[in-house]
């Protein structure tokens, strides 16, 4: 019930899409893909432009440049002064922002529906015509260093997460944090930024998602007008990142920090992501996460570790299926004060082993599927959420058809599929196990 820990760990089951009849797609001659989601309940539109480039596409040694560029996109262009983009959005009563992940970078505005053309005009302008000064670079680099200090260096849990990812991915760039390593961020310069920008910020690497009170034909006409004239980057092909070598042995970390209050154990296993036309394994893993650790009151881990024989104040299982390359499946246990990390880890492993032996509770699976079904109804109330779902999917190697098929694929997962997925994924030789705690001396002093 207490949601505090959830913000750190839980990757809730990816929700399925709303009724498909409201979705329209088109592609411009220059390669720009577009998705239009209609919702006519309010005269509002969400305009999102997603680039198929993220932190995992950075050149070696320039970690953080994808996110740095995202910040700098709010500086000037040949037609806009620094800061003017957001000023115009605000002057029109709208809100705007941007985000960077390992696999994509997105920009969005939420405005009255009749301002869509203006948003497209400005967004198209900054796709190819950014004009940065050295002052922009120096000042904004200080800002991203402060951002790293605030979000990562001030948060031992975030530092622990960075170290676990680095251990999980030896070769794949998912092992490098999105914000960047500090020593590399400090060296980012104009050339790093502009070469990344010129290559990847192009219509043939972009996905336009427009959601709200709009007519798809009008959206297409506006897109032709504003995005149509932009030149694609020649020779831009599907992304190929370095892949992981076979993992032969478990990797273990003990992360100690004076600021750590509540110790916990996180185990992550390398796992397949949702692949286009082949989402069945991912669906079984998504349901496995829900069955094992979706709800403290009714999940397998919650029942065994929090309720029946309490060894934990919180447990969870999580799976992030929307990824371009291989992803992770994770287990978390936050022990009660009298339980050591080793005891907690052993108890968690025992519960998982017993689960594989006992099988899936049919009623629990039925309840989970009922909630997935209902989430299609609730999702229609959040058109911005639908827009994010399509943007994420289309920049993670999936198609509109994959997104539409996902709810049915989830419903078709059987008890046997879930157990098979568990047997496949729970291989300690392919896991990273992390312990998070105060330095041991401190622990001894206080106990």
């Amino acid at each position: 019930m207490l949601s505090r820990f959830l913000t750190t760990f839980a990757m809730l089951l990816a929700l399925p899409a709303a009724a498909a009849e409201n979705i329209t797609t088109f592609t411009l001659d220059n390669g720009l893909e577009a998705v239009v989601i209609e919702d006519h309940r309010a005269p509002v539109v969400v305009h999102m432009l997603w680039y198929k480039v993220g932190a995992a596409d950075e050149p070696p040694g320039a970690s953080g440049v994808a996110h740095f560029l995202e910040h700098l996109m709010f500086k000037g262009t040949d037609k806009l002064e620094a800061g003017e983009f957001s000023d115009v959005v605000q002057a029109n009563g709208g809100t705007d922002n941007a985000f960077t992940s390992q696999d994509y970078t997105g920009y969005f505005q939420r405005v009255a529906a009749d301002r869509l053309g203006l948003m497209m005009e400005m967004e198209a302008n900054r796709m190819r015509n950014l004009r940065l000064t050295e002052t922009d670079i120096v000042t904004e680099r200080d800002v991203i260093l402060e951002e790293r200090a605030q979000r990562t260096d001030s948060d031992p849990g975030a530092l622990f997460g960075e170290q676990r990812s680095a251990a999980q991915f030896m070769s794949h760039p998912y092992g490098i944090p999105i914000i960047g390593w500090r020593h590399e961020m400090e060296q980012l310069d104009m050339e790093d930024v502009m070469s990344f920008y010129r290559e990847f910020y192009a219509p043939n690497a972009a996905v336009l998602v427009v959601a709200g009170d709009v007519d798809p034909a009008e959206v297409q006409a506006l897109a032709e007008q504003h995005y149509g004239p932009l030149e694609p980057t020649p020779g831009l092909e599907a992304r190929e990142r370095p892949q992981e070598p076979p993992q032969l042995v478990e990797r273990r970390l003990v992360f100690e920090d004076e600021r750590a209050s509540q110790p916990y154990v996180v185990r992550t296993y390398l796992a397949p992501e949702r692949d286009s036309g082949d989402q069945e394994t991912a669906a079984a893993l998504a349901l496995l996460a829900d069955v094992l650790g979706g709800s403290s009151a009714t999940s397998v881990m919650g029942q065994a570790l929090e309720l029946e024989n309490p060894k934990a104040v919180y447990t969870s299982a999580f799976y992030r299926g929307l990824n371009y390359d291989d992803t992770t499946f994770g287990l978390v246990i936050v022990p009660t004060p009298d339980v050591s990390l080793q005891e907690a880890e052993d108890a968690m492993d025992a519960v998982v082993a017993q689960f594989i032996e006992d099988g899936v509770d049919a009623e629990q699976l039925e309840r989970i599927k009922a909630q997935i079904h209902a989430s299609e109804v609730y999702a229609q109330d959040d058109v911005g959420g639908l827009a994010r779902r399509y943007g994420t999917a289309l920049t993670s190697g999936l198609t509109v058809e994959d997104v539409k098929a996902w709810p049915d694929i989830l419903q078709a997962v059987t008890e046997e599929d879930i157990i098979a997925a568990a047997k496949m994924i729970f291989d300690r030789d392919k896991a990273v196990t992390g312990w998070f705690r105060k330095p041991v001396e401190t622990v001894e002093v206080t106990q």
């Binding site: 009255a112 203006l118 402060e146 104040v313």
Partner: protein
């Protein structure tokens, strides 16, 4: 560049149409009032139920009891234990959120039209017959204790708790509603039952509903859900007295970046100058990248990732606060910039252009808040708690547009007091020491 400005100016003339929301006041046969927006295009309903008072009604020495009670409401009711209750809720695919803040306790429910009767019956059980089993109390208590421990190591939480204590002293606003490890550990089942009786009463009840439901259907649900609650709850808290004077309080904490929480006394929600103050703050520190604080501290100097300021008009005390984080070696400079901006606005007020920009943004953004059934239900309940008229949504933008540069100058002189600004700084700031 000039072209874009022209486009923007031209478009602003076309008034942004608000979502045509038709708010009805519904009174149940049993006399319970709610505001309703019927929205039949999606087959579910969002229901927001709020009780005034909230965590500030904790009894003496029982800090954290109401927060603990809140965490226990979905932990079993009637003949259902914690697991049975959760399984029943999951099978219905309904959601019930229970939350408590300084001035209110809230229930945020969503349920499908197809099984509305069963979903409402289950929520009724939670609100009227919570079990408060000892095993659940112990388990939820251990979660809260864990959170209190983590907060004690979180610079933002340390700053917020320190500032609250300095601002409000012994008033409930002066302490964290989670309680302390000692106070929470000492709570008994009787304390939890008392907290329940103190908070969930009909004399402090406000309801908003949005979705696939008619006035008649809602009326019946209101009586069924809430008719059995006690008529009267605990007396409301005393008015809080603001205690802090200007200066700096450094809380040493080993971290590379310091957190600063700053402010002084604010302004009441019903003060005739609240709207000028609200628009003024938009220009000072609530306007995202365009605000003065963001421009001066982040955009021009790169001293922080983000800075904002906000008016906090609680029911029994009022604050004007701001917050940011800067590296230990740069936070002293950032604090000087903030003080300078506070003084500049107090002395000079704002320009016509700044005011016009802020008004365009605030009036344009307001309709965008009405975004989804649950959000609207929350707004409806909040408007009633603030004692606003049912047509408030139609007149609110006029009130924003009525604010003049002279209004802001008047309220800035009164509200912004640079000498009274107090900064709580958590970290290892260089060149900063606690005053007095």
């Amino acid at each position: 560049m000039i072209r874009f400005v022209f486009v923007a100016a031209a478009l602003v003339l076309a008034a942004l149409p608000a979502r045509a929301i038709d708010i009805k006041e519904v009174t149940s046969p049993g006399g319970i009032t709610a505001w309703l927006v019927e929205e039949h295009s999606i087959p579910f309903t969002a229901l927001e139920i709020r009780f005034k008072g909230g965590a500030s009604l904790d009894r003496d020495g029982k800090r954290g009891a109401i927060n603990l009670m809140t965490g226990l409401l979905d932990e079993g009711a009637g003949d259902l234990d914690a697991t049975g209750f959760a399984a029943a809720r999951e099978a219905l695919a309904a959601s019930y959120g229970f939350d408590v803040r300084d001035d209110s306790f809230s229930v945020s429910a969503q349920f499908l039209t197809g099984n509305r009767e069963e979903a409402v019956a289950l929520l009724k059980l939670a609100l009227n017959e919570p079990r408060f089993d000892q095993s659940s109390i112990d388990r939820v208590r251990s979660q809260i204790v864990s959170i209190i421990g983590s907060d004690a190591k979180d610079p933002n939480e340390i700053a917020s708790d320190t500032a609250a204590r300095l601002h409000w002293g012994d008033h409930p606003y002066g302490s964290n509603s989670n309680g302390t490890i000692e106070s929470v550990t000492a709570l008994t089942r009787d304390d939890v039952v008392n907290a329940y009786k103190d908070v969930l009463a009909r004399d402090r009840l406000y309801v908003g509903a949005v979705g696939d439901i008619t006035a008649e259907e809602l009326g019946a649900i209101l009586d069924d859900l809430l008719g059995g609650l006690p008529e009267v709850g605990a007396p409301m808290p005393e008015q809080a007295e603001y205690l802090q004077t200007g200066g700096i309080t450094v809380v040493p904490f080993n971290t590379p970046q310091s957190v600063a929480l700053f402010g002084h006394e604010g302004i009441e929600r019903h003060d005739p100058d609240f709207f000028p103050a609200f628009v003024m703050n938009q220009i000072m520190g609530a306007g995202g990248f365009g605000s003065r604080l963001m421009q001066e501290v982040r955009e021009k100097r790169g001293l922080t990732y983000g800075i904002g300021s906000y008016l906090v008009p609680k029911d029994y005390g009022y604050l004007y606060l701001g917050q940011f984080a800067s590296s230990n070696d740069r936070i002293a400079e950032a604090i000087d910039v903030v003080k300078g901006e506070w003084a500049r606005l107090a002395e000079e007020g704002v320009t016509e252009e700044e005011l016009a920009d802020a008004q365009r943004y605030l009036t344009g953004a307001y309709p965008l808040r009405f975004d989804g059934n649950a959000q609207i239900a929350g707004i409806l309940a909040g408007m009633q708690m603030d004692d606003l008229p049912i047509d408030y949504a139609d007149t609110r933008n006029d009130r924003v547009n009525a604010v003049t540069v002279d209004d802001i100058k008047r309220v800035a002189e009164r509200l912004l007091r640079p000498q009274d600004l107090h900064f709580v700084v958590v970290g290892q700031p260089e060149g900063l020491e606690s005053t007095n």
